[in-house]
Structures are given as structure tokens and as C-alpha cells.
Amino acid sequence: MIVLDPTGYPPKIAAKPLAARLDTLNGRTVYLVDCRFDDSDVFLKQMQAWFAEHMPSVQTVFKPISSVYLVDDPKTWEEIKARGHAAILGVGH
């Protein structure tokens, strides 16, 4: 018996390069980016407290995104690019 495949057509996958990793976090600024979903802000502030206790040489900035996670936020990304060295985004659900 011959039948047709019901699945649609996916787009081609184009590889995107990852950013170069840092040699160390000491003396660097890490942005903790709150995606503003559920209680991600409470979680990221606990992570910020962890850095203060265990890696005080790391500067952290708690930064909520400008709107909801469904909306791109170039203003925030540009700020992090200009003023920070790395980012931690959370919390995906």
C-alpha cells in the first residue's frame, strides 16, 4: 500500500556561531536577565546573592527585560553588549 507523508516542510537549519567564552569571570560584569515569567525574578536574585557570597569579584546586574519574553528586546541586548561581559537568562519554563 502506498500512502502520502502528512508532515510539512521544515526550514533549512543555518548554524549560528556561539560567542567566545571568557577566560575568567573575575572582574567581569555578568547580567542576570529576568524573562519576567512566573517568579524568575526571585530566583535570579538568589543567584545574584550566590555571586556576592562566593565570587565577590564578579559584578552582577539584575536586569528585567523591557516587556514580555515573546517580544525581542534589542535595547536590553545592546545595554548588555555595551556594559557587560556575559549574561545569564532565566528562567525558561
Partner: protein, 436 residues
């Protein structure tokens, strides 16, 4: 992924563990399989600061390694294994030939069905479906994705026909199914809130193909209603590249409405108001289908009592989650009662009243979890009307919904004046005639 790829900032994404497969899959199809991803236990919601600190101090439940060690390594250790710059993922036109039983098993195993028996899409059956549209089989009808983060897949007229056959639809239903596909609104959204879709058909096509707008319209008593809605669901899950729990579907409880996407015809002949598609710019003689997404909640009552009908309706509306705006599905008896009791000679007048009636204290409104997740950030960003709502005092009664998100549709066979409210979001109205 944007900040990593476009802005060149080393980034770690933290997720809850229930989403490990889906986020790895999204990273893969986004061309970033080595993206640094760290997991913490689910849920985050409702946990105290101390409990969430324990997540930070604890281990990644997927890898078993300390969360903060993974975070730091994700920012400092080389990650890229090197992947091809671009590669194709074509899907075949035909399935490998096999026996009928084996093909049924294959379709089940590949998650191409809704787990109910299907009609196998032979070339002959698909050709009969294709004969009911002037559109060419290889014409692209639209594209869908299960969630904001996933990539769009596209589908042709033939792919829609394949899914229509699988659903058991008759060829004469095909233009309606094509119109549903053309909306691009998926009936298989992957939201953890377990959403379904709803589809309302208007115009002459309803009678031509025997759709039911009366007794039992919302199921399961009409072949056209049942199979058109089922085809919409199958086309969505297959056309968008899947709807698999834990991978591309995250609805926590699932949703029984998804079996046929609450598909019915509006009872235009017995409605005191203009049809839904006319409200959205089409002529009464046009045929159209309108789709809603985010179908989750339902409230119902019987008729409108003379003395307290306003309070009864207010309480029904008040019971909805404010992030799921109301679509009133009124039996013609209930519709005429709204005219008689409230003087709502036009749907617009009723919608005005509903908008003004559905209110709650601002403090309570802003404390809803979904309002916090999806509306509060937009309000703080200055987006109206939510920015103005945010300025209200905590005890001030504010509208629960935007007026433009409230809808009224007439359906039912007048066996009584029961009516219901579906919590859902209007998506789009698409011409059926354009797909004949």
C-alpha cells in the same frame, strides 16, 4: 539565543527541568546545538526565596552537576563542537510502501495522529480531495509553529489534503479545511496552559456541506463539524512539524477540546444579530472561517433571569481568568433574551456592556499569575490600555478585558436557552471562497 548569536555575548540560559527536551530541540533547529543550558527543578512559581536559593545551591536535575558550576563553565569553557553551516531537512512526499496494518502502526508511532484511528492517505483519496479546489497541489497554503520560539514549517495544498483524508473529511469540505490552514493559527499550540483552538464557519458553505449550527452543533453529532475540526488539528500538528508531549507540546493537562478544535457553524438564520464574519469585514453572502486560540476555560448558565441577570452574567465573567478573554456562545434563545432584557439590538452594544461589566479590583487583577507573566511587563513598558490600568489604585475596579478581545457568536438548536462563555483569543477570519 539572540544575545549570544547576534550580539556576541556569552550567555547561559537557565530553564526548569521539564523543558530540557524542548529547549535542546529549539537550540538544535535554531543552529545553536551547543548553547549553554542549565536546568533547575520545576516549579519556580510560588516558591520562597529560600527554596529558590536551594535550587541555586543544588544540582542540575538533568546532569546531576552543581548548578552554579555549570553556569560558570557555560560562560568560560569553550563549547562549540563545530556544526555544518547549513543543512536541509526535507520531508518525503510518500511513505515507504507497506501493509495497511503496518502503515497504521507507523502513523501512530511517528505521532502523526491524534491517537484515534485514521483513514490512510492513499494517492486516490488525496486526489479526490484535491479535485475540490482550483488551487495547485504544490501551492504553499501557509506556515505554522507550535510556539513563539520554534521555527515555522510550511505546507502545501497537497499536504493539507493528506491530513484532511486522515481526519475522515469528505472532499466537499476541503475548501473550509484549506481556509483553516491558511489562517496560520495552529490548533496545536504547545503552551503549558494546555490550549485548544476553536473554529466558527459562516456563510453559504455551511448549508452546502451540511454543517450543523443547531442542536448538537458543538459535537459530536455532525460529520462535517467533527472531521473539519479534526483535520485542522492534524494539519496543525503535522504541518508545523509535530506536537509531541515533552518535546513540542507542553500542555500540562492536555485539552479535550483539541480533538476537533470546537468546530461549528454559526446559527445565522436564528441570530438576532449580524453574522460573525460580517463583523470582520466580509459580506453576508461570503463563506468564511474564523479561528480562536487559547481555548481553555468554560462557564455556563441557563438563560437570563428577569431580576438578577446582570449580576449572574457579571459573576460568570468574573470567574474567567483575566488573561482568557470571553467569547460568548449563545443559543438563539439566550441571544434574544440579551436583546429583550438588555436592549442590545446590536452585538456591539452587548460587547460594550460586557466590557463595562467585567471588572475587578486592580490589586487583584495585577496579582493574577498570567497577568504578571504576560500583561504586567507590557504595562510597565507603557503599552496601553494596560499602562493606564497600572496607575489605578489597588481598590479601583478596572476592566478585566480589552473590549476588542470580547466576542459573541450564536450557536445552538433552541432546545433550551443554555449558553456558555469560552475563554479564548480571536485570531483571524479567512475566506473559504478563495480556496474553492
Amino acid at each position: 539565543m539572540t544575545i549570544e548569536a547576534k550580539y556576541g555575548v556569552p550567555t547561559v540560559a537557565v530553564h526548569t527541568d521539564k523543558f530540557d527536551k524542548v529547549v535542546r530541540s529549539v537550540a538544535e533547529v535554531s543552529g545553536m546545538p551547543d548553547l549553554a543550558q542549565v536546568f533547575v527543578p520545576q516549579p519556580i512559581m510560588g516558591k520562597t526565596a529560600a527554596q529558590l536559593r536551594a535550587y541555586v545551591d543544588g544540582k542540575d536535575p538533568i546532569s546531576g552537576r552543581p548548578v552554579m558550576q555549570e553556569v560558570i563553565e557555560g560562560l568560560t569553557l569553550p563549547r562549540s563542537r563545530g556544526v555544518a553551516s547549513e543543512y536541509d531537512r526535507s520531508t518525503p512526499r510518500l511513505v515507504e510502501p507497506d501493509t495497511e496494518d503496518n502503515l497504521h502502526r507507523l502513523f501512530l508511532e511517528r505521532n502523526w495522529t491524534d491517537k484515534l484511528p485514521i483513514v490512510l492517505p492513499t494517492e486516490e483519496r488525496v486526489a479526490a480531495m484535491l479535485a475540490r479546489t482550483r488551487r495547485k497541489p504544490d501551492e504553499v497554503v501557509g506556515r505554522m509553529r507550535s510556539t513563539h520560539f520554534r521555527e515555522y514549517w510550511e505546507y502545501t495544498v497537497e499536504k493539507v489534503a493528506v491530513n484532511a483524508v486522515m481526519a475522515g473529511a469528505r472532499p466537499e469540505y476541503f475548501p473550509v479545511i484549506l481556509a483553516l490552514a491558511a489562517t496560520g493559527v495552529t490548533a496545536r499550540g504547545s503552551s503549558s496552559s494546555a490550549v485548544a483552538a476553536m473554529a466558527v464557519v459562516n456563510g453559504p458553505i455551511r448549508r452546502e456541506i451540511g454543517m450543523n449550527a443547531g442542536t448538537g452543533a458543538m459535537g459530536p453529532y455532525s460529520h462535517a463539524n467533527a472531521t473539519i475540526g479534526r483535520a485542522y488539528g492534524l494539519l496543525s500538528q503535522n504541518g508545523q512539524g509535530g506536537s509531541v508531549p515533552g518535546l513540542s507540546y507542553m500542555g500540562n493537562q492536555g485539552n479535550n477540546y483539541a480533538y476537533n478544535s470546537v468546530t461549528f457553524a454559526e446559527n445565522e438564520e436564528r441570530s438576532p444579530w449580524e453574522p460573525f464574519h460580517v463583523q470582520h469585514g466580509l459580506a453576508a453572502g461570503d463563506s468564511a472561517v474564523s479561528v480562536f486560540s487559547g481555548v481553555r476555560s468554560t462557564a455556563f448558565t441557563l438563560g437570563l433571569r428577569e431580576k438578577h441577570w446582570r449580576e449572574h452574567v457579571r459573576h460568570l465573567l468574573r470567574g474567567m481568568d483575566p488573561h482568557g478573554p470571553p467569547a460568548l456562545l449563545l443559543d438563539p434563545i439566550a441571544a434574544r433574551q440579551f436583546v429583550d432584557r438588555g436592549g442590545f439590538g446590536k452585538k456591539d452594544a452587548l460587547i460594550d456592556w460586557l466590557h463595562d461589566t467585567a471588572r475587578m479590583r486592580a490589586g487583584e487583577y495585577w496579582d493574577y499569575q498570567l497577568i504578571q507573566n504576560y500583561i504586567y511587563p507590557r504595562a510597565t513598558f507603557g503599552e496601553e490600555p494596560w499602562a493606564s490600568k497600572l496607575r489605578a489604585a489597588p481598590d479601583e475596579e478596572i476592566p478585566m478585558f480589552r473590549r476588542e478581545d470580547i466576542h459573541v457568536i450564536v450557536v445552538g438548536g433552541e432546545t433550551n436557552g443554555y449558553w456558555r462563555i469560552m475563554g479564548c483569543t480571536y485570531g483571524k477570519t479567512e475566506s473559504v471562497d478563495a480556496w474553492r
